[in-house]
């Protein structure tokens, strides 16, 4: 479904990603793990269109999207719950959700079905539907960020550090929902520093170190891999 081929991304003279090749199949949940500064978010932003690509290509369902603007990629079905949530503080929960429907919604088309699905997944959001974005807690904001991405009716969901800044219990709760979304058949690419959590939902995973993919395999294999265990799992 998604294929990055020899992707190179640079910020000025600094090369952040070097010929990264990565594939995500339909219905798969793939994790991208690595330390701070390894280039995980850079890769995700290249896929969603926020970072320009120096060389290489990004194929989504057989067509190249590497040169498309980010709003075009959302319309094709790539939606992202960004790092740090990036909720619109001046809009209510419901308005934040409604915002993400611009990519598919025709004039006056109802969105209540989509809203209901998100509220089923995250009942807390329903309670707070009329509250402004800035008044939510960190966990609620993360749920809203994921919910907002789902409102775009994506075929590929990109999640950037959904556990960031959350208490362990909340992080687990968020990941439980991610698993639920994955079980519904949606294709997910999740970037995560918390390797234990990431490998708990993923089918496969890639390990990124200083801009290069150094390892990839099934989640179960990686859990046993000595290098991963020493560097990321702390065992």
């Amino acid at each position: 479904m998604l294929a990055c081929k020899d992707l190179t991304v640079a910020y000025g003279d600094i090369v952040a990603l070097q010929s990264v090749t990565l594939e995500v199949g339909r219905g798969e949940t793939v994790a991208l793990i690595g330390a701070n500064g390894a280039g995980k978010t850079t890769l995700l932003h290249a896929i969603s269109g926020l970072n320009p690509v120096q060389s290489g290509d990004i194929m989504f369902e057989g067509t190249s999207v590497a040169r498309l603007a980010s709003d075009r990629r959302v319309a094709l079905g790539i939606a992202q719950a960004p790092e740090g949530r990036r909720i619109i503080p001046g809009l209510t929960v419901e308005e934040n959700l409604a915002l993400a429907t611009v990519s598919w919604r025709r004039w006056r088309q109802p969105i209540s079905g989509d809203l209901a699905r998100v509220f089923d997944l995250f009942p807390r959001l329903k309670e707070r539907r009329r509250q402004l974005g800035w008044s939510l807690s960190g966990g609620e904001q993360q749920m809203l960020a994921i919910g907002r991405a789902l409102m775009a009716r994506p075929r590929l969901l990109l999640l950037d550090e959904p556990s960031l800044g959350l208490a362990p219990r909340l992080a687990e709760e968020v990941y439980e929902r991610v698993r639920q979304i994955a079980d519904s058949g949606l294709t997910i690419l999740v970037v995560e520093q918390n390797t234990v959590l990431a490998l708990s939902v993923a089918d496969r995973a890639y390990v990124l170190e200083t801009g290069r993919i150094v390892l990839h395999g099934t989640a179960d294999d990686l859990k046993q891999n000595t290098r991963v265990r020493e560097a990321y799992l702390g065992r």
């Binding site: 959302v74 939606a79 992202q80 909720i87 209510t92 990519s103």
Partner: protein, 328 residues
């Protein structure tokens, strides 16, 4: 969503304005006319600055484009003002698209400076293209508006007309705010990256906000030309742009009611404080500073001290209330 607030707002404007028009003297009616016209311009500026977060210091240039459009079409070509008004507004909108495409690539201070430059160039052109604009002598003898054979010649009848335009402008602005287009603008203001991630075409939203603001400005300019029946480049200098911005900030950015309150207050304040002479500007500076410090969300954020909660937390709810305007 909520259709009630915009309609209610329009009706309140009409009733309050009609009431005032019966009570005030001619001189104050004239000021009220100017305030109503400014309010239309400031509601427009609110699209660009309040919703989409685009700092514009060139709003008066678009007011001027509308005013000069009406003045030229009526005096040079002899058009009826009723025909000249929509044509001038449409022309200003096209001008705003052309100028917005390159200008809106800039952000923050750079955009502020560029729009300021636009306003200065507008004044230069208006003052020096003497064959067309009459230079600093301006354009006089702009025909008055006529409604069903009656000329809107006196202040009171003009005010009624201007109030009707303000009521419609405010109601339409309220509807846009509550629509997905309004939401998209606010999203672009709060977080451009997040907005583009959710599938919003950021450039298009910015241009739309900029053009909407110029349309409101041109309507205000056309009304100004027909009201004063004489315009000169000074009426649209960059100082007026800064006044519009001050009106919006004092009233409450992001709020239509705030835009109207700010326009009213800053039109009448200089007259009330006339006795201060040139010390007025110093007072004005301190006044705006006080608003920024004590009422960060503008006049619309004001709450009577009695409504303070017992723990003294009033700012949060006040901010919510201000940004909740237009929502059910």
């Amino acid at each position: 969503m909520s259709m009630r607030f915009p309609l209610l707002l329009g009706i309140v404007i009409l009733i309050a304005g009609l009431g005032l028009s019966m009570l005030l003297t001619d001189y104050h009616l004239r000021l009220l006319n100017l305030a109503v016209i400014s309010a239309i311009a400031v509601i427009g500026l609110n699209f660009a600055f309040g919703y989409a977060g685009l700092i514009s210091l060139g709003h008066a240039a678009f007011v001027g484009t509308g005013a000069y459009g009406v003045a030229l079409l009526t005096t040079l070509l002899g058009w009826s003002p009723w025909l000249a008004l929509p044509v001038a507004v449409a022309g200003t909108a096209i001008f705003a698209v052309l100028i917005g495409l390159p200008l809106l690539r800039l952000k923050g201070h750079y955009l502020a400076l560029a729009t300021l430059g636009l306003n200065v160039s507008f004044s230069m052109v208006a003052a020096n293209w003497i064959e067309l604009t009459g230079g600093t002598n301006g354009i006089s003898r702009i025909p008055e508006l006529q409604v069903a054979g009656h000329a809107l010649a006196d202040e009171r009848s003009y005010l009624w007309f201007a109030l009707a335009v303000l009521a419609v402008s405010a109601a339409v602005a309220g509807l846009i705010h509550a629509s997905r287009h309004g939401r998209a603008m606010i999203a672009v203001r709060d977080d451009e990256t997040a907005a583009s991630m959710t599938g919003i075409d950021v450039t298009r939203v910015k241009i739309a906000a900029f053009v909407l603001s110029s349309i409101y400005a041109a309507v205000a300019g056309g009304l100004f030309a027909c009201h004063m029946r004489f315009i000169s480049p000074e009426d649209f200098s960059y100082a007026h742009s800064i006044t519009y911005l001050a009106m919006l900030i004092v009233g409450g950015e992001g709020s239509i009611v705030g835009a109207i309150l700010g326009a009213l207050l800053l039109t009448f304040l200089p007259e009330w404080l006339r006795f201060l002479g040139s010390a007025y500007l110093a007072f004005f500076g301190v006044f705006v500073l006080a608003i920024l410090v004590f009422l960060p969300s503008g006049l619309v954020g004001f709450r009577w001290p009695g409504s303070l909660r017992r723990d003294g937390r009033s700012k949060g709810p006040a901010m919510v209330a201000a940004s909740k305007e237009v929502r059910p």
